[in-house]
């Protein structure tokens, strides 16, 4: 049984940080302060947090369009994240990326990609870099159940498997791709079953249990660092909100019933972890309350910082295209 209190508390802190960040994002979208598409990670916090806490700061990670949970879990600065969502020059990407393209290379966040499956090969390449550079940095691409049907998934897992690259393929199976149930779209029963096609370990994990996620990913990371190659981990989870907030592909038709949503909310990852910490006497209610207060203050600061930050100057339009710039018009 995991007993490291600092770690257990950090799990809770990061999950709460994502939850409160996302709740604020919903408000900002409704107020029109955040434009474009924004995909809520609420309900899935344990997956990214459990996985990222099994990594070192210098390990690599790539993500997808559901893009706020991964960077926060990996230790990204919420100020810069919020500023990016508001399109400000102080954001991770100077306002050029926005919600779907958060990235912070300084803490190993190689970027969130809006195109499904697109960032999986990137992670494989980062892991190839570790091998060529003779270090033991691991790469974790996050992708959804829907994206596991993209050709990039197949090619990337096979490539990592034959080259024994230090990759942990992390499928966040929240059971739907927009309105499409994975039961209809994925031919295998579990996505983790697909590991058989590549002779690598495939593990189905309770994605609502941050400790289960942490332990499964830790084992895969150990394998990877030891040069034993990649693993495929499926975190079975659920998104509480609609596919996308604001713009994007909103689907109203009842592709899932409220009952199902309610049942899953009964297994809220944050409540589960909280109750466990209390039950096991690892944390007191006071500690948890003050932690929540601290994180709430962080998020308030982040929003304040984002709001106060300037928009990029028009000149920025032609900047950052090339390391060695050329005339552009």
């Amino acid at each position: 049984m995991l007993e490291d209190k600092t770690l257990l508390m950090e799990m809770l802190r990061r999950m709460i940080r994502i939850r409160l960040f996302e709740e604020r994002v919903i408000q900002l979208v409704e107020r029109g302060e955040i434009v474009g598409a924004a995909h809520s990670y609420i309900g899935e916090e344990a997956v990214a947090v459990g996985a990222c806490l099994a990594l070192r700061d210098d390990d690599w990670m790539t993500g997808n369009h559901r893009s706020h949970g991964h960077p926060i879990a990996k230790g990204g600065d919420v100020k810069k994240a919020m500023a990016e969502l508001l399109g400000k020059s102080t954001g991770f990407c100077k306002g050029k990326g926005g919600s779907m393209h958060l990235a912070d290379f300084s803490v190993g966040i190689l970027g969130e990609s809006g195109i499904l499956g697109s960032s999986i090969p990137t992670a494989v390449g980062a892991a190839l870099g570790s091998v060529l550079q003779g270090n033991d940095r691991v790469a974790v691409p996050f992708f959804g159940d829907g994206a596991s049907n993209e050709g990039a998934f197949h090619e990337s897992v096979n490539l990592a498997a034959i080259w024994k690259l230090p990759v942990v393929f992390l499928c966040e199976n929240n059971q739907y791709a927009v309105s499409s149930s994975f039961k209809k779209m994925v031919a295998s029963e579990n996505i983790s079953d697909r590991s058989a096609a590549y002779n690598i370990p495939g593990v189905l994990v309770d994605g609502q249990d941050v400790i289960a996620m942490y332990e499964a990913v830790s084992e895969a990371v150990a394998r990877a660092r030891a040069g034993q190659g990649p693993s495929l981990i499926e975190g079975r989870t659920y998104r509480y909100y609609d596919h996308s907030l604001g713009l994007g592909r909103i689907v109203r038709a009842p592709y899932r019933d409220d009952e199902e949503v309610e049942q899953w909310k009964q297994r809220d990852p944050i409540s589960i972890h909280k109750e466990r910490l209390l039950a096991q006497g690892i944390a007191t209610q006071e500690e948890i309350d003050s932690m929540e207060a601290e994180v709430l203050a962080e998020i308030d600061d982040a929003v304040e910082f984002a709001r106060q930050s300037p928009y990029p100057e028009p000149e920025a339009l032609f900047e950052d295209m090339f390391a060695n710039p050329i005339p552009l018009e």
Binding site: V35, G36, A37, E84, G87, K88, C93, G95, K96, G97, G98, S99, M100, H101, S113, G114, I115, L116, G117, S118, G146, A147, N149, E150, G151, A152, A177, V178, S179, S180, K184, M185, V186, L247, R249, I250, V251, R252, A253, Y255, Y311, P312, P314, A316, L317, F318, M321, L328, E329
Partner: protein
């Protein structure tokens, strides 16, 4: 009757009607796409309810497979409509280029491929670099596609019907910035042929060639120019492949001046191609340098402080027109 004559619907509704009517007319027509069965917005809305889940098919996130499956289905006698967007076509380029565009010629004309690839463009809505592609010039460069562009509801319905009845692969460009704009659309069945440009406004001083959402901006520019006594002619090619070069050359022979407007990146764009063609075929009519407008040669930034700077506007179009008259 007046009711009919004044019936105004959005471009999205016009596309929906075109597909609905063609699906009623020809049972070989079916639709493939992502989350189209449950969609209550969008051009496919309600089609699953009328035609069922077999003919309105939700696909897994495997664009290369289902865009290629459209080719196979067409090859055996079906008439697929594929709903997607340019930004999601990169993963499917092999099926589009190696199969859809090449198969007929490569096999000596043994097969017809009646496929409509509905290609949305989400630019202009802070969707950032991965969701703002407008890559139709690529499909002009690759032989084998017909490339169509609707700038209003009326054209949209007529062009979509032609596209569905066409026996060749069609890239049907759908400009998100105008999908919601309303226009008169009759209830009677009608089609609009490919390769016939439409003069959206007549003028004598300068020719402005624009497509999709740029047409509306060009018309605004023309209106503004008229205040300054400049008479601009606005031409909408409606299809880029085939291109009605004659109408464009005819206009330039009248005005002697050309502005081409594109929402794709400038380099190797439709605007470049039309500029080049006029410099070749209409050179002796030209009395001033061609003005080519297009999106900046950068990827589309997210920030509302930057994205609007990327595209032509009514103002920059008017400026360009004036520049040809200096």
């Amino acid at each position: 009757m007046t009711q009919t004559l004044t019936r105004e619907i959005t471009l999205t509704q016009a596309l929906n009607e075109a597909m609905r009517e063609e699906m009623r007319r020809d049972e070989r027509v079916f639709i493939m796409g992502e989350d189209i069965q449950s969609g209550v917005y969008g051009a496919s809305a309600g089609l699953a309810a009328e035609f069922g889940m077999e003919r309105v098919r939700d696909c897994p996130l495997s664009e290369n497979a289902f865009m290629g499956a459209a080719v196979g289905a067409a090859a055996v006698g079906m008439r697929p409509i594929v709903e997607s967007a340019f930004c999601f076509m990169w993963v499917a380029m092999d099926s589009l280029v190696s199969q859809a565009s090449k198969m007929r010629y490569m096999f000596g004309g043994q097969v017809n491929l009646p496929i409509v690839y509905r290609s949305s463009m989400y630019y202009g809505g802070s969707m950032a670099a991965h969701h703002s592609d407008r890559s139709y010039p690529i499909f002009m460069h690759i032989p084998g596609f017909k490339v169509v562009f609707a700038s209003n509801a009326y054209d949209g319905k007529g062009l979509m019907k032609t596209a569905i009845r066409e026996d060749d692969p069609v890239i049907f460009c759908e400009d998100r910035t105008i999908l919601g704009s309303r226009g008169y659309v009759p209830e009677e069945d009608y089609t609009i042929p490919f390769g016939v440009a439409d003069v959206k406004r007549e003028g004598s001083d300068v020719t402005i060639v624009a497509i999709g959402g740029m047409v509306g901006l060009a018309l605004q520019a023309a209106e503004a120019l008229s205040q300054e006594g400049i008479s601009a002619e606005v031409i909408d090619p409606r299809s880029l492949v085939p291109l009605d070069l004659e109408t464009i050359l005819g206009s330039v022979s009248k005005t002697g001046r050309l502005v081409t407007v594109d929402m794709a990146h400038k380099t190797c764009s439709a605007a470049s191609e039309i500029a080049a063609l006029v410099a070749m075929e209409g050179f002796w009519s030209l009395q001033a340098p061609v003005q080519r407008l297009g999106a900046a040669n950068v990827h589309i930034p997210f920030s509302t402080a930057l994205e609007p700077l990327c595209y032509p506007t009514a103002a920059t179009i008017a400026e360009a027109a004036k520049a040809t008259l200096e």
